[in-house]
Amino acid sequence: MSTSISLWQQCADHLQSELTPQEFNTWIRPLQVELKNESICLLAPNRFVREWVKKKYFDEIIELFKRFTQGNPPKLFLEEGTTIVSPVMVATQERPKAQSSQNFGKASDLIPDYQNNINALFNFDNFVEGKSNQLARAAATQVAQNPGVSYNPLFIYGGVGLGKTHLMHAIGNLILAERPNAKVVYLHSERFVADMVRALQSNMINEFKRFYRSVDALLIDDIQFFAGKERSQEEFFHTFNALLEGQRQVILTSDRYPKEINGVEERLKSRFGWGLTVAIEPPELETRVAILMSKAEKVGIVIPYEVAFFIAKRVRSNVRELEGALKRVMANAHFTGKEITTEFVREALKDLLALQDKLVTIENIQKTTAEYFKVKVSDLLSKRRSRSVARPRQVAMALAKELTNHSLPEIGEAFGGRDHTTVIHACRLIKELQQTNANMQEDWANLLRLLSN
């Protein structure tokens, strides 16, 4: 066996001396070797690499094999694939018995070794809390402290870049801190699908089932990507049931409320709502400032409060873009050696700020709001005062105050020449309704998301 590997090594060395480094790196280096009985199988990472190698290098590889074995080469195949069976399920090795009095944690008896994919950098300590995410955070903490017992499944939903994945990893980390032997697995839904396909191809579907049904906590991110993948949904459905029955924790995230996920079976959607469903909203200004200060501090850079405020006021859409903006500022400061001031930031983020300003105009707000409530923009500007028009108009005014720097008289003017006191009234009313009316809360959040993405 080892001779076959050294044979390939010999062959690769030869090709390396013949090809340009670029060619070698792109086409030959990614090939993996698999030994099947007496033959050698070269695995190309994808179809393109396989076809390319087949056409350009395979004949030469066969020739080299012949030469290095004095005309007695092993059979050689070139296929698409990888020797890594599954990124999550690796090797088999017994682990120490878990110390747990509850059902939770029992799965870790005699389990195969695995990769939990939990990122140690995401924990509760560095999750910046604000109004927009405190409920989700509280629920996550509860679940992490009593996995499998308190809320099962925990379903976290919200727009992109608001911290769903961060919370998930934080739960995983806390569970592992309290029960180091617990078998916690985090993965993106796409990985679940890919793993399943791979397991089916390599006749390992039973191992796949056993593995996922044996975990103590299963954390699956972005469940909306299950849409349209029926076989995976079917498999996940059974896994989900098995875990819930065994009081193992399931945590899911999605970009929308369970019932709104298209392309996912009804029975799955209804199960998603069995435990607790919590939303994460886009962070409000104060939280955005706090996030920036905390991120900067983490890398040992102090940014003045007014600078953080300046960035937070302008980058509203999500935490990822906020972080991206901060990274740019820090990169620029690093290259130029200049101090980070508001002026410096204005220059460093020039194009980004132009983009945000351009995006959120009163016209844009009117257009988006009208579309959202299915009324006409002209209705918003008209004198009509029926509820079906007045409410969207008030929402649009409140949004204009929140998202632009226009004065109240300017906003009134832009809405068909209304008085600024009308704008003030609209802002107060909408704020109140957000506290008392769940629909309004949802509409407001959706519109904010639409306007700032």
Binding site: P21, E51, G161, D255, S317, R320, E321, L352
Partner: protein, 229 residues
């Protein structure tokens, strides 16, 4: 399948960092150099109009990675025969440079594939460079998950060159090809020909070949004859 084999996933030999006229883009270039060596940011997005040097820089990063003995691949998404399969398992590479992201905007399959690929690269700890004509938020992508990820890393804009810089860039390129371009001839080209760098460099190549063939120096009359202007 055979048409797909004509894919030019290879690199232009002269697309190196040394060959790139820096102008006001030196920060971006320093960051990309670090990236290619495996020492910089794990993800960078660069954008700029056509001819601003995006493809040159991505290919230069691959060349440098190769010199540093790191595996790399250059994937120009504008190539019509490409399908999202190309991204499968590419996270095994140390550096992946994805060019012309504009080409796949609003293609659901591609956008999702790129999103998953981004996640896989992040998980595997390798370096990813992506380039396009517009900043992430203005690419017209449908998948917000992808947009927010592109905007998560360091984003650089490649600034277009001023006329003065264009002249300097042409002279640098001529110099590296071993012939002299006078200010006069350079200015003539800038005044009379399309002024984006891709076309200017192409002209320069035509002129270089013509002057070699005719054994003549690059003078304005000669340039006029060759280009027919």
């Amino acid at each position: 399948m055979s048409t797909q084999l004509a894919l030019p996933l290879g690199l232009r030999d002269d697309a190196t960092f040394d060959n790139f006229f820096l102008s006001t883009n030196q920060h971006c270039v320093s960051a990309l150099r670090a990236c290619a060596s495996g020492e910089g940011y794990p993800f960078i997005y660069i954008w700029g109009q056509q001819g601003s040097g995006r493809s040159h820089l991505l290919q230069a990063a691959c060349h440098l990675a190769t010199q540093k003995n790191r595996s790399s691949v250059y994937v120009p998404l504008g190539t019509p025969e490409l399908t999202p399969h190309i991204l499968q398992n590419l996270e095994q590479m140390n550096l992946v440079c994805v060019d012309d992201i504009d080409a796949i905007a609003q293609d659901k399959q591609w956008e999702e594939a790129l999103f998953h690929f981004y996640n896989n690269m992040r998980e595997s700890g390798q370096t990813l460079l992506i380039a396009g004509r517009n900043p992430p938020q203005r690419l017209g992508l449908n998948l917000p998950d992808l947009v927010s990820r592109l905007a998560w890393g360091v984003v650089f804009q490649l600034h277009p060159l001023s006329d003065e810089d264009k002249l300097a860039a042409l002279k640098l390129r001529a110099d590296q090809r071993g012939f002299a371009l006078t200010d006069e001839v350079g200015q003539f080209l800038l005044r009379r020909c399309p002024r984006d760098m891709i076309q200017l460099f192409a002209l320069l190549e035509t002129l270089d070949r013509a002057s070699l063939q005719a054994q003549r120096k690059l003078t304005i009359p000669f340039v006029k004859t060759v280009l027919g202007v």
